[in-house]
Symmetry: none
Subunit: 141 residues, 2 copies
DNA sequence: TTACAAATGAAAATCAGTTTCATTTATATT
DNA sequence: AATATAAATGAAACTGATTTTCATTTGTAA
C-alpha cells in the first residue's frame, strides 16, 4: 500500500480502487497536477473512474495537507505535491512556450522584510519569469 | 471629465454613458475590483449597463495599464487600481483581499544568472506574495 | 455474512467569463 | 444640423471547469 493510501486509510477514508488509481498518478506526477490532467491519465487506464471522483479525491488530499493549491491565474485549479521539497518556479519562453524550472529565488530576505514592515504572515509566493529562449530570441514573435 | 475618461478618450475609445458609469465606480473604489461587484454597483444606478460591457471595459483598462489583475485564488478575476506607473508587485492578504504594493524585488541578479545558464533573454517577471494581514492572522477561516 | 455509512458516477446545475450578432450610438465629417 | 461609419452595446447562447444531486454500489467493522 502506497504511502498516500496508508495515510488516507489511517484517517478513516475508505480505500476504493478509484482512489488507489488516482493516488498512483498523483504520487508519480512530477509536474503540477490539474484535475483535468489527472482525470485523463487515470481514465486511460481505469475508464471506470469518473471526473467527480478525481475532484473529490483531490479535495481530500488538500484537506489532509498532502497537496496544496497553487494559484497560477488560469481557470483551472492546480495543485502540487506538498511532500516535495523542491520549491521551484518557471521561466517561460513567450515565443514557443517552453518552460524551464528553476529553484533558487532567494526571496526569503524580501519576505522577512515585508513581514516586518506590514505585519503580514507570509504563506507563499508566485514568481514567473518571461523571456525568449535561445531558439526564439533572434526571430519573430 | 474624469481622469480615467480623459485617458480613454485620448486613446481613441468612445466615451459612452455605460463606460462613464463603470469608470465612475472604478475610480471611487478603494478595494480590489471584481467584475461581479462592479456590475452590481453600476447596474444599481444604471440598469441599462450589461455585464458584457463591464468585462469589456475592464479589459480596456487592463490594456491601458490603468488597473492590473491580482491572483487571489478564487474563480473570479480581481483587479486593483494602478495608482503608480513604476514597477511594483503585490502582497495579497488571502483573508480579506487587502493588497499592499511593494517595489523592491531584487530579482536582477537571479535574472542575470538564469539568462547566463539558459540562454534566455529575460523580458519581465511576475511576482506576487500571499499571506495574511495583521487583522486576519489571528483569526478564523 | 451482514449492515450501513461512505463512496461512486451519470446527468444536471452552477458560475464566471466569452462569443455572436443584430441593433444602437459617439464622433468625425460634411 | 445632418450624415456616415466604425465602434460599442446587450440579449442570448455558449464554454469549460467545477459542483451538486441522487439513485446505486461498495469497503469495512461487527
Amino acid at each position: 500500500m502506497s504511502k498516500l493510501a496508508a495515510i488516507l486509510r489511517q484517517q478513516g477514508y475508505k480505500l476504493t480502487p478509484q482512489r488507489r488509481a488516482i493516488l498512483g498518478v498523483v504520487a508519480l506526477s512530477q509536474e503540477h497536477l490539474s484535475p483535468a490532467a489527472i482525470y485523463t491519465e487515470v481514465h486511460r487506464k481505469h475508464p471506470e473512474v469518473g471526473r467527480v471522483t478525481v475532484y473529490r479525491t483531490l479535495e481530500i488530499l488538500v484537506r489532509l495537507g498532502l497537496i496544496c493549491e497553487v494559484h497560477t491565474g488560469g481557470k483551472e485549479h492546480n495543485f502540487i505535491l506538498r511532500a516535495r521539497e523542491d520549491h521551484h518556479h518557471h521561466l517561460v519562453c513567450s515565443g514557443c512556450g517552453r518552460v524551464v524550472d528553476f529553484a533558487s529565488c532567494h526571496l526569503e530576505r524580501l519576505e522577512r522584510k515585508l513581514s516586518r514592515e506590514t505585519g503580514f504572515t507570509i504563506d507563499e509566493h508566485m514568481l514567473e519569469i518571461h523571456g525568449r529562449c535561445p531558439q526564439c530570441t533572434g526571430g519573430e514573435k
